[in-house]
């Protein structure tokens, strides 16, 4: 017999012997190691009847220990893992399984989180795309304030953590740059950067200014004071957004921000000019 032929015969014989032994061991006995592993596997799928939130494998309770003993005994007697699980379900009911079977009413448990994740993701994607499209149009438009709030809440934790991790000089640089971009050269503000940031976010909810609605008033000095001062930290709003008396309150509130941020206060004449201008174009009561 040639070399390769002999090898082949040997291989066939070996495989045959292995198969035979595998079949025999599968039907008959499992090694102690196999039994241990199987017992552990089944025990980790069963709920401990006493403590409920732990598996039989993890539970320190006496009953869990006894349950493990039962699992092992049944395996030794030749039961399949499915039969062992079915035994406990027949005695305790389905709740004994830590993972509810993927069928019937239980499917909800498996499918709902997935659907919620998909739904939430789609919602975010749609809203963000819309938002970005508006930005591209050049009209910031109005974004749902509650959506912004949700987004801000979702991001805050992460952003704060990132911000705190930055070295101080980087944070200081970023603050100065931010202020410069906002047209503010005058500084040592206390908490000003933060407030300016808040205003910058808030501007998105402002009704944008439409100069054509103001007619010839866009040539007035008051208009330019308004643009210069009110448009420094946030976009200049449409005067028609509020009534005259509302504007007075808004101005007071905004001026408090200016003071807090350490910016140059609005002088008395400027203040009157701006409020007069706003009053001319304000919303009727």
């Amino acid at each position: 017999m040639t070399g390769p032929g002999r090898t082949l015969t040997l291989a066939v014989a070996l495989v045959g012997a292995l198969l035979a032994s595998a079949v025999a061991s599968g039907a008959q006995e499992r090694s102690p190691e196999e039994l241990d592993a199987l017992t552990k596997q089944i025990a980790s799928q069963l709920r401990c009847p006493v403590c409920r939130q732990l598996s039989v494998e993890d539970s320190p309770s006496d009953l869990a220990r006894e349950v493990k003993g039962v699992i092992r005994d049944k395996l030794e007697e030749g039961a399949t893992p499915e039969e062992v699980r079915a035994y406990f379900v027949s005695k305790y009911g389905e709740w004994i399984l830590l993972e509810p079977p993927k069928e019937g009413f239980n499917l909800l448990v498996w499918v709902t989180p997935l659907l919620a994740l998909l739904g939430g993701g789609t919602f975010l994607a749609v809203q963000l795309t819309r938002w970005m499209r508006r930005e591209e149009d050049g009209s910031p438009g109005r974004v749902n304030a509650s959506f912004l709030l949700i987004l801000a809440l979702a991001l805050t934790a992460g952003l704060t953590a990132c911000g705190d991790a930055l070295p101080d000089h980087v944070k200081e640089d970023a603050r100065r740059r931010q202020l410069r971009e906002l047209g503010v050269e005058h500084v040592e503000p206390t908490g000003g950067a933060r407030r300016a940031g808040v205003s910058a976010i808030r501007r998105i909810d402002l009704e944008p200014l439409d100069p054509s609605a103001l007619g010839e008033d866009t040539a007035s000095a008051a208009y330019h004071r308004f643009l210069h001062r009110c448009g420094a930290c946030h976009e200049a709003p449409a005067p028609s957004q509020h009534t005259a008396s509302e504007w007075s309150a808004v101005f007071t509130r905004m001026h408090r921000n200016i003071e807090d941020a350490g910016l140059i206060p609005v002088s008395g004449p400027d203040r009157e000019a701006i409020l007069e201008f706003l009053g001319r174009h304000a919303k009727e009561k």
């Binding site: 009847p49 009953l63 039961a79 379900v89 305790y92």
Partner: protein, 210 residues
């Protein structure tokens, strides 16, 4: 736009309804799959109250019905329910109801002391390794099973039983036994329940040799 709002609202309402439905359920109240099926068989050593016998099997209990109570001396709720069990025993034993106590995870000496202190002379069995308790799906004692003359579990009570539950369930057992006697076709006696449910496979049977 409107259909979007309506469908969105529908999803939210469905979810809220689902959660609301969940609120009406008590997660600690677990219905036993054993109610309505044959009581698992057992052969256990007698602690006391078994007369001359060393061990007793479920099939030997010739009675119009049985009340099987899992308890332990360390279980406070068991002490609470014990007087009701004593009353039921005095009242129903002569009517043919067999009361069985199965001691759960306890030492025989402690169980004996408990019985000396709180009384009760019904059949008491030891369940080392809790095999019978697991067969009955016991998760927290006291648990009480009501078994009819055909060997079927008619009711399971979790927590301390009271006179009301005992009277009602034992009453059902007795009336069931009377009906069985009245109809000649059906057998009477606990033997009718043999062989006890063993999960379908001989290898899984509680009476299989270990």
């Amino acid at each position: 736009m409107t259909w979007k709002k309506i469908s969105g609202l529908g999803v939210v309402l469905a979810f809220v309804a689902l959660l609301g439905f969940g609120l009406t359920l008590d997660p600690s109240e677990l219905s036993s799959p054993l109610v309505g099926s044959a009581a698992p068989g057992f052969r256990l050593e007698v602690l006391e109250g078994g007369g001359s016998r060393d061990s007793v099997g479920l099939a030997e209990l010739e009675a119009k019905g049985a009340v099987v109570n899992f308890w332990a001396s360390w279980c406070l709720a068991c002490i609470q329910e014990h007087p009701a069990l004593v009353r039921a025993w005095r009242r129903y034993e002569r009517e043919g109801i067999q009361m069985v106590g199965i001691v759960y995870q306890d030492r025989p000496s402690a169980a004996r002391r408990y019985l000396e202190r709180y009384g009760g002379g019904w059949l008491q069995l030891m369940d080392p390794g809790s095999r019978t308790a697991i067969d009955y799906g016991v998760y927290g004692i006291p648990e009480t099973f009501f078994i009819d003359s055909a060997g079927t579990i008619t009711h399971k009570h979790v927590g301390p039983v009271d006179d009301q539950v005992l009277d009602r369930e034992i009453g059902r057992l007795l009336s069931g036994a009377r009906e069985a006697e009245a109809s000649p076709a059906s057998e009477t006696g606990m033997r009718a329940g043999e062989p006890p449910d063993a999960g379908g496979s001989g290898a899984l049977g509680p009476e299989a040799p270990r």
